[in-house]
């Protein structure tokens, strides 16, 4: 029975024919329940951001707003006070963009090259430095502030955007290098050897062979770095001056003010606004993710 039947087995194209098969119910059911666990807090945030304060004070978290109001959103973006300036989050938005773009680009550029060098061009001491890098991933940021301040001061770039980009690159290096290194080692070695035989050098192989194959991993790296750098507060505030503070500083001021009335609806709106950028990156990258990965599984 086994042999003849299996030889005629069709490749598993579309899944189970009956949409309500037991497996399917189990699958979608589980996913749905889990999705609820994840979505409920977002629901609470959205619903709260659309209510007026009197409604919120009455305390029912999960009830939809009786009176929908978009005022908290307007306030969060352009009117909320964050110190003397009462311009809401908009002040910091462009600063965040200005910080995030170069930091993401530089950190990923450096780390991908690192990962590539470690995976394919093993030279003496490479792994030693790599281990130190991994160790560095575990150091709490607060501890490194003073040594880095001193270092940047000596280099004369304390307080500049360059300094901040360097700091972000340094702290992104361990994980992103690891990410790339592991990915490149999992690619078949024949590829690399073949390219060497063809006479290509370090940069040639990187740009012509590895880069095109690494779209999915670059996507993951971008997700990690954009989220981390966009949401960063500590470095943004220690290594720049007030004109260059990122959005997270305003967000923190809005949400965490100790004195005065806490306007929860504005806080929620502000948080969602701040999270929109990484979220849209996730959304857009989703396509790259799926298709790229499936295509990238090359069998030598």
């Amino acid at each position: 029975m086994a042999n003849t039947r299996t030889m005629n087995v069709e490749p598993s194209g579309p899944k189970p024919k009956k949409t309500l098969s037991r497996n399917n119910i189990f699958l979608y059911g589980t996913l749905f329940v889990i999705a609820v666990y994840y979505a409920v807090p977002l629901y609470v945030m959205i619903v709260t951001s659309l209510k007026g304060m009197p409604e919120i004070r009455m305390g029912n978290l999960f009830a939809p707003p009786v009176e929908v109001t978009f005022e908290p959103w307007v306030k969060a973006w352009s009117e909320q006070c964050t110190g003397l300036k009462c311009d809401g989050l908009s002040t910091g938005f462009w600063n965040s963009v200005r910080i995030t773009i170069p930091s993401v680009l530089v950190s990923i550029a450096i780390s991908s090259v690192n990962g590539y060098a470690l995976a394919n061009w093993r030279f003496k001491g490479a792994n030693f430095f790599f281990t130190i890098l991994i160790f560095g991933a575990f150091i709490p940021y607060q501890v490194m502030i003073y040594p880095i301040v001193i270092m940047l001061r000596e280099m004369g770039i304390y307080g500049t955007l360059t300094g901040l980009v360097i700091v972000h690159s340094i702290f992104g290096m361990p994980i992103i290098t690891l990410l790339f290194r592991n990915y490149f080692t999992s690619l078949p070695e024949e590829l690399f050897k073949a390219a060497r035989v063809d006479g290509a050098g370090f940069w040639g192989i990187f740009f012509r062979v590895f880069l095109p194959m690494s779209v999915p991993i670059f996507t993951v790296a971008v997700i990690l770095q954009v989220t981390g750098i966009w949401n960063d507060f500590l470095f943004g505030v220690v290594f720049t001056g007030p004109e260059a503070y990122p959005m997270t500083v305003q967000l923190n001021s809005i949400v965490n003010s100790v004195q005065g009335v806490k306007e929860y609806n504005v806080n929620m709106a502000a948080t969602i606004l701040t999270a929109l950028v990484p979220l849209s990156i996730y959304f857009v990258s989703g396509k790259l993710f799926v298709r790229g990965i499936a295509a990238g599984a090359v069998k030598g």
Binding site: W121, I132, G136, M144, T185
Partner: protein, 297 residues
């Protein structure tokens, strides 16, 4: 021949030059910074680093402080549970989504979006959800189950589990995404071969697929563990270390010592202990991982 010897340094020249940023960072920032921290942990630095030696006094005080001991215990509980659960949940989710479900984009985004939210508000939301007055407990009670009790954040013994719930919500999405990337890299042929051989699906996952995903697992492991060791913002936003000191964690102890207590020496002593622990784990792993490589040059 012998001519190769003197050129050892110039072998792979381009690679070495390209790796200069990594080497500099590793040496000056990570090694240098660590040495700096350890040095000043033997001093009486307050708000500013000062070279006033006090020997092991900061360490004596550290280990006599209840807050530090509670912090370590919490990190152990939170860390182990978080690690296990986030991998299990992340992998199962990835496996489920990998089944070419419809609405994959939606499910994936819903599970991943918490990662985009800054900890500051994640902590606050979960504080509300776990609040007995108007959170989950009151909702369930309204439904009729009057004795339902679910307010971990106000119970010193289990508050850390309340934080764990929020942490899992935030982090499992990323693990799922990484696992998904790994799963998608597995060739379909493997699945077919396993099915032909009659191996049940769960066994295929366990014995065949997971070992093939080793690199992804390691990356994820480092990512998650680094996040656990450094956890700070979530605690501050959700419980401020409370009730009392029952949700203190080492990173918060360091930060509080450095900036509230204005006692850098104490903060550095705590960090040094944290770094020591990490070194104890990372160094043997590195030797294992890379020791064999030396033979292949």
């Amino acid at each position: 021949m012998d001519q190769k010897r003197p050129n050892q340094l110039f072998r792979n020249k381009t690679a070495k030059i390209a790796a200069i940023p990594m080497i500099l960072t590793a040496l000056f920032v990570f090694v240098g910074g660590t040495i700096w921290t350890i040095t000043y942990s033997f001093t009486k630095s307050g708000l500013l680093p000062k070279l006033k030696w006090v020997g092991l006094k900061q360490y004596d005080r550290l280990w006599a402080t209840k807050k530090w001991l509670v912090a370590i215990e919490n990190l152990a509980i939170y860390g182990i549970l978080m690690l296990l659960l986030v991998f299990i949940i992340g992998f199962i989710l990835a496996a489920l989504i990998d089944q070419k479900v419809r609405f994959e984009n939606t499910f994936r985004t819903i599970i991943l979006y918490p990662y985009a939210m800054s900890f500051v508000v994640t902590g606050l939301i979960w504080q509300w959800m776990l609040n007995p007055e108007f959170g989950v407990q009151s909702i369930v009670r309204d439904f009729g189950w009057k004795s339902f009790s679910f307010d971990p954040l106000y119970n010193s013994d289990i508050a850390i589990y309340g934080v764990l719930i929020a942490g899992l919500w935030q982090g499992s999405g990323l693990v799922m995404v990484l696992m998904l990337a790994g799963l998608r890299g597995i060739d379909q042929e493997i699945w077919k071969a396993a099915r032909i051989d009659g191996i049940p699906t769960w066994k295929t996952y366990l014995m065949v697929v997971i070992p093939m995903m080793r690199p992804v697992f390691i990356t994820t492991l480092v990512l998650v563990t680094a996040g656990i060791v450094k956890v700070y913002d979530l605690i501050v936003a959700q419980t401020s270390g409370g009730p009392g000191i029952s949700t203190e964690v080492p990173a918060k102890y360091v930060y509080d010592a450095m900036f509230s207590g204005q006692n850098l020496g104490q903060g550095f002593a705590a960090s040094t202990m944290m770094l020591l622990t990490v070194a104890i784990v990372v160094i043997p792993w590195a030797l294992l991982e890379f020791g064999g490589d030396k033979k292949h040059g």
